[in-house]
């Protein structure tokens, strides 16, 4: 027997030996197929966790093999074992160094990737050099690989930090989406504290975000959340953080004087930019991205805007159970702070019998947090069905939840208590025990009303065996022995009998009960107490022995006993505060939501604290960038954030906007859009000190805008006359500036003047009536317009490229006025910048039906070029196109909603004769525009 097994072992050893040999031979052969077979075997060994390090020399030889798959497998092997065989690994380095110089970008990238994965300290300088070179490579893919290599080098040799930060700084300035995610990841691993590196790249990161791959998005969003916390002001600073919706009235009262003292809050446009650009990512298919945006909104958005994340988070509850688990943990934390947000989705948290227990318990937590006076009856009904579940752990959790609802909502306390008392007759002991524990807590709140429940529970001691429940009952009887004077001593009698067989916690409570009874009713219980204390004196557990000694000294007066025994009654029967049943998720939000630390409720290694909002905003100008660093480099094609169908054909439109930027010399925003937003804000808020900077920038920008669209004084239209408006008059004009919240809308600037003697309050829009397809973005409510004052606001209307009117009601705190805005066709477009050649090319494509020509005789005053240009640009929001001939004036624009091109040509001839040509894809627009321009030129 023994011999046989020895032989078998020996044979196995031999065959293993043989296999190793053949592997060696195969690797040495000059046939690629044999090498491949050998490498596959070796990699399979590695995958199974077996040691294959002895083959290192034979494998490394093949690093220069021509066959791609062999080569790849060799790389896999090398990266795995290089750390153990440092000297031999060095042999392969030269191959990679050669690879770094290869003309093919993918080979350069893969060489860098493997080189940086070899964990051998000696090659640190080589790696450093390679990373630096790759960081300025032509190919974005190689630069991305360089970003990936940074944390690898950092973990190998932390002393390289300073040099690596330089590389990170350089790569952060990169304008491609491919690099953005990876470099921020490197930033987070190497130097998360260097928040100053982000300033210049902040706007670019915000703008690129939507096109970055999903994993990069998560990292960027988490980093920007931290950044925003250090740079912007708390958007909720004028609102008390911990109030709930029902306290809003109180808040209003408190706010009025507070507002007077505090500066009105103005959100930094960069803060707004971040919120706006992350919002669409709530629609991502990647749960991690959705969670990242959700936490960003939770930590950064004004209270009124946080609600948008609820829907997306609820959607994630349909996903895999692990995703549910994490999402529910975060939702539980959010529901404590912002209950209102999830209330509409209450039913999405209902529990199914097929959910895993851990999911059930978390859903229960959320339901409990969501409970309030209005929905408590539905929730309790739901809880009742849960109690019947087969999953006993879950039932116990439900009972706890009922207890918490009862303590939080006074109205239902009695109902809950009755329900729980009914559960006391449940057949399942666990259910009864849990109920007892919860009832104990509830009774503590108002014991005097419920002495019959205490009596009922006293009876239970005969049957119920769960120690925690027994202990709870005994504590209750002891605590409220005065309410049940007849029963208490009897319970003690029974307990004394069974004392030796009880669990420790029960024994402690028996001693406790005895002591309390001795103090209140010593006549009946003196002997019993002595008996219990004697039993406890010889108990096996020293806690119990100690307790018995301590209590004896305290309550039984002897000569030796100190001053304390006088106070025994006070000590034992002091009024105890009712327990507060709190959610375990309370205050978890001091951890950044969605983080590992939040989930564990403990700081994980490498966790970056979420800083508190600053008291005063740091200088916002640090984020300003030179014009040449405009958001998207020419040639970078954006994909997802653009509406246009043909973006991939090339960034023509962008080029246009960039030229306009450079025309302005130096400019505030990183892209034109941002600057427009500054303008928008400056219009709405009165310039405080803080706004001065903005205003000066705005002025600058207005100047530069006028170079593109030399629109003369804007025409004002009346929306509401002073008399019909009972003192309130409203005028509007088409400001001809892009409407920043939505590029497809026409910006309408409204000016409100209060001519009455009384203040007007709460100016806002209601009851918008639109043709299908049209949309309106209302201006934010004007809370107060004092008598004699004027205020302006900007609203956006998407007219869908039609001249249909937008009807709505303008409401004040007292009245409502029906008003309507009908745009002249010329306001439905925005100027675009075209060169002469581009103009001709586009015009060539818009012939036939799309071209309308009209002959006219020019007005006497309007026969020079300057006046023609002025009149056309007043009639329509177009920009002039440079033109070689002085007989022709050309203008170009695009419709705001559909971006259809509008081209206008005015060719002058002898004696005031002229020809007007309009080319537009939309014939209706073209026809109307011809009429309008004709009118402008002939009168």
């Amino acid at each position: 027997m023994f011999v046989a097994s020895v032989i078998i072992v020996f044979c196995l050893f031999l065959s293993a030996e043989k296999e190793a040999k053949t592997n060696y031979q195969m690797l040495d052969s000059n046939k690629d197929s044999l090498k491949l077979e050998a490498m596959k075997r070796i990699v399979a060994m590695i995958a199974r966790g077996k040691n294959a390090s002895d083959l290192f020399p034979a494998v490394v030889k093949n690093v220069a093999c021509k066959n791609i798959e062999v080569k790849k497998l060799v790389y896999v092997y090398l990266v795995r074992y290089a750390e153990e065989q440092q000297d031999l690994a060095l042999l392969s380095i030269s191959t990679f160094q050669r690879g770094l110089k290869d003309p093919n970008q993918l080979i350069r990238a893969s060489a860098l990737r493997v080189l940086s994965s070899i964990r051998v300290t000696i090659i640190v300088p080589i790696m450093m050099l390679a990373i630096k070179e790759a960081a300025s490579d032509m190919s974005p893919y190689v630069r991305k690989t360089a970003a990936h290599a940074i944390p690898k080098l950092y973990s190998l040799d932390p002393e390289q930090k300073d040099q690596l930060i330089e590389v990170i700084e350089k790569l952060l300035a990169d304008k491609t989406t491919l690099v953005a995610g990876s470099v921020v990841m490197a930033f987070e691993e190497v130097c998360p504290e260097r928040i100053d590196l982000i300033h210049k790249n902040y706007r670019k990161l915000c703008n690129l975000l939507i096109d970055v791959e999903e994993w990069g998005q998560v990292v960027i969003i988490n980093m920007l959340t931290r950044y925003a916390r250090t740079q912007f002001l708390n958007p909720n600073m004028n609102v008390n953080e911990d109030e709930d919706e029902d306290e809003e009235e109180k808040e209003k009262k408190a706010e009025t004087p507070a507002m007077a003292k505090r500066k009105p809050y103005v959100m930094d446009p960069d803060h707004r930019l971040l919120l706006r650009n992350t919002k669409p990512l709530l629609q991502s298919r990647n749960a991690a991205v959705v969670m990242a945006v959700a936490q960003l909104y939770f930590h950064l958005a004004p209270k009124a805007e946080v609600g948008v994340i609820a829907k997306a988070l609820v959607r994630l509850l349909r996903s895999h159970s692990e995703v549910q688990y994490v999402v529910l943990q975060n939702v539980a934390t959010m529901t404590i702070k912002r209950r209102g947000m999830f209330e509409p989705y209450l039913k999405s948290f209902y529990i199914r019998s097929t959910d895993p227990t851990q999911i059930k318990v978390l859903k229960l937590e959320v339901l409990t947090n969501l409970a309030n006076e209005t929905n408590i009856s539905t929730i309790l009904r739901e809880f009742q069905t849960y109690i019947k579940s087969m999953d006993k752990d879950f039932v116990a959790a439900t009972i706890q939840a009922i207890g918490r609802c009862a303590t939080n909502i006074g109205e239902v306390r009695d109902t809950c208590l009755n329900g729980l008392v009914q559960l006391l007759s449940n057949r399942d002991e666990l259910v009864v025990a849990e109920s007892v524990v919860v009832i104990k807590k509830l009774l503590q709140m108002q014991p005097e009303k419920h002495s019959d429940i205490i009596k009922h529970m006293a009876k239970l001691t005969d049957n119920i065996q769960v120690p925690m429940a027994r202990a709870s009952i005994l504590w209750l009887i002891g605590e409220y022995c005065e309410h049940v004077p007849k029963i208490a001593p009897d319970v003690l009698r029974k307990m004394a009998k069974s004392f030796t067989n009880e669990e420790d916690i029960v024994k402690l409570q028996i001693i406790n009960l005895a002591a309390k009874l001795y103090l209140t009713n010593s006549k009946q219980t003196k002997l019993l107490t002595q008996y219990v204390l004697n039993l406890a004196k010889y108990d096996q557990n020293y806690d119990i022995r100690d307790r018995a000694r301590f209590i004896r000294q305290l309550i039984v007066p002897t000569e030796k006993s100190g001053a304390l025994s006088k106070y025994a009654k006070k000590l034992f029967l002091a009024l105890k505060p009712a327990p507060v049943l709190e959610s375990p998720f309370k205050d978890r939000d001091h951890f950044q939501l969605g983080s590992l630390s939040h989930l564990l409720n403990a700081k994980a290694g490498g966790y970056q604290e979420l800083p508190d909002w600053p008291e005063a905003a740091p200088d916002p100008s640090v984020r300003n960038v030179e014009v040449k660093d405009s958001v998207r480099a020419v040639g970078t094609v954006t994909y997802r954030d653009t509406g246009a169908l043909w973006d991939l054909q090339g960034p023509k439109k962008l080029e246009g906007s960039e030229k306009s930027d450079s025309a302005s010399g130096s400019e505030s925003g990183s892209g034109s859009e941002e600057s427009y937003m500054l303008l928008f804000h400056a219009n709405v808020y009165q310039p405080s000190l803080y706004n001065w900077a903005l205003v000066s920038m705005t002025l600058h920008l207005v100047l530069c805008l006028q170079t593109i669209a030399p629109s003369s004084a804007l025409k004002n239209y009346e929306l509401l006359h002073r008399i019909t408006g009972e003192g309130l008059s409203v005028e509007y004009c088409f400001s001809r500036q892009p409407f920043s919240p939505d590029a497809n809308m026409v910006a309408v600037q409204m000016q409100f003047t209060n001519n009455a003697t009384a203040d007007t309050k709460n100016l806002h829009i209601e009851d918008v009536k639109l043709q299908s397809g049209m949309r309106v973005k209302e201006f934010s409510e004007i809370e107060l317009l004092p008598a004699g004052e004027t205020a302006t606001a900007v609203m956006g209307i998407d007219f869908c490229d039609s001249t249909q009117a937008a009807n709505f009601q303008l409401c004040t705190h007292t009245r409502k006025f029906f008003v309507s805005i009908q745009p002249p066709v010329g306001e439905l477009m925005r100027p675009v910048f075209l060169t002469e050649n581009e103009f001709k090319k586009e015009q060539g494509q818009l012939m036939g039906m799309n071209e309308i020509t009209e002959k006219l005789t020019l007005d006497m005053k309007c026969r020079n070029e300057h006046t023609i240009v002025q009149r056309v640009t007043t009639a329509a929001n177009l920009s002039r196109v440079p033109c070689g001939s002085d007989k022709e004036c050309r203008f170009a624009g695009r419709t705001v909603s559909s971006s259809s091109l509008v081209l206008v040509t005015v060719a002058t001839k002898e004696e005031g004769a002229a020809q007007l040509t309009v080319n537009c894809e939309k014939m209706v627009i073209g026809t109307m525009l011809v009429k309008d321009i004709l009118l402008a030129l002939t009168q």
């Binding site: 491949l36 896999v76 349909r318 895999h320 692990e322 991939l648």
Partner: protein, 418 residues
């Protein structure tokens, strides 16, 4: 970020390990096994575990645990989502994600893992990019490979990662150009004892199979897009166009992919296709109980309900079931206490009924909880929410593709409480 990955089967064997940084010993999994032991059911293992030096984040897919080891702070969902992506990729490559398949293709799986993460940070997770680098096995290719010793690794270098549309490779060619869309809706509902809807919503998904030459730019529009309450998209869909025009505009990935997920929640919009009359009761005296279930059509929009199936998790005390079904067959699994009644097609003239007695363990008190019924069903050619695709337009390419839309309604988590 992600340090190591271990694949563990249901008996607790580690059959594959991969390390992206230095090697971490297998002993770290002991903490996981401990938690696995405690949890009884594999679904109840906490996805995130804390050990003295590491954090363990795991998912449970296809009877396998994917266990990743983390050393520093990282959003847990990031890891979970990635692990599921790994499982999806394996499924995509080999048709299923199981221990056998992974063991058979261990080298390919290992190479995939190598490409998907670099130093623990996701590098290439798009299946299109991966397939360019590592070709999925086909029967023909594996035969050829064994004969010629050729490899599964693409000999061209992948270009997908370099493009702005990483989900699509250039130079796709087909002789038959076709684009098919499946609109699949699942009804999630909880009905109470009396049949009233406690909660109902519709979860929809549009699965696409697009085989088109070149770089087509597609626009899919709906008759009634306002129906959709909440949506999530494949990265190829342009947000702005959805926001402004409610159309899906995208350059599709090549092959099969999920275009969008959506959600219809307004209660009154959710039609419940069947009603269930049921009574399950256990008697106080004697070890038995009675069961009687009838199913009938409710709001089926004139279509036939197929694939009807009822699953009941019985209380532990139920020993056996002696039932008669007027239609279909039933099975009762003694070990798991699951009663499955497979009905098939629902005939409105003759409603299926399952009736009979249950035997419970003698001596134990009567089970007090009534089990809930899980319903499975299918309705072909119907999207129960009423969503309709109105048209599909293609720009950017000259040829005319075949187009098709199919609708299907299924029961999702459809539960009847008793």
């Amino acid at each position: 970020m992600i340090h190591s990955l271990f694949l563990i089967n249901h008996t607790g064997d580690i059959f594959l390990e991969k390390h992206w940084k230095s090697v971490i010993g297998r002993s770290v999994c002991d903490y996981f096994f401990e938690a696995r032991e405690k949890a009884v059911e594999p679904e109840n293992v906490p996805p995130v575990l804390q050990t003295p030096h590491h954090y363990l984040i795991s998912i449970y897919r296809g009877k396998l645990f994917f266990l990743s080891v983390i050393q520093t702070e990282v959003p847990p969902l990031f890891v979970i989502e990635f692990l599921h992506r790994v499982a999806d990729t394996i499924q995509d490559y080999f048709g299923e994600c199981s221990e056998g398949v992974i063991k058979d293709n261990v080298v390919t799986v290992y190479e995939l893992l190598e490409e998907m993460l670099d130093n623990g940070f996701p590098l290439a997770t798009e299946s299109n990019v991966l397939k360019e680098m590592i070709r999925p096995p086909t029967i023909l290719r594996s035969v050829v490979n064994t004969l010629t010793g050729a490899s599964n690794v693409g000999d061209t270098l992948p270009t997908g990662q370099l493009s702005n549309v990483p989900w699509r490779r250039v130079g796709v060619k087909y002789t038959n150009n076709e684009a098919y869309f499946d609109v699949i809706e699942e009804i999630d509902a909880i009905l109470d004892k009396s049949g009233t809807t406690v909660f109902a919503e519709i979860q929809g998904v549009i699965e696409a199979c697009v085989r088109l030459t070149g770089m087509p730019d597609l626009t899919l529009s709906f008759m009634n897009p306002r129906l959709l309450d909440d949506v999530s998209f494949h990265p190829c869909v342009r947000f702005k166009r959805w926001e402004s025009e409610r159309v899906l505009s995208f350059i599709p990935p090549d092959g099969n992919f999920t275009l969008m997920n959506y959600h219809v929640s307004s209660q009154n919009l959710v039609a419940i296709p069947v009603y269930v009359k049921q009574s399950i009761s256990f008697f106080e005296t004697g070890p038995c109980g009675r069961l009687d279930i009838t199913i009938g059509p409710k709001q089926t929009m004139g279509k036939t309900v197929e694939g009807l199936m009822v699953t009941i998790h019985m209380p532990k005390a139920v020993l056996s079931a002696n039932l008669t079904a007027t239609q279909g067959t039933y099975t009762y699994d003694l070990a798991t206490k699951v009663l499955v009644w497979d009905i098939g097609k629902l005939n409105p003239q003759k409603l299926p009924n399952l009736k009979g007695s249950l035997t419970t363990q003698a001596g134990t008190p009567k089970p007090e909880d009534n089990p809930s019924l899980n319903i499975d069903l299918k309705i072909q050619q119907l999207a129960i929410s009423g969503l309709k695709v109105s048209r599909l337009d293609m720009y950017g390419e000259k040829y005319k593709p075949f187009k098709g839309v199919k609708y299907l309604t299924k029961a999702g988590k459809f539960q009847v409480r008793t």
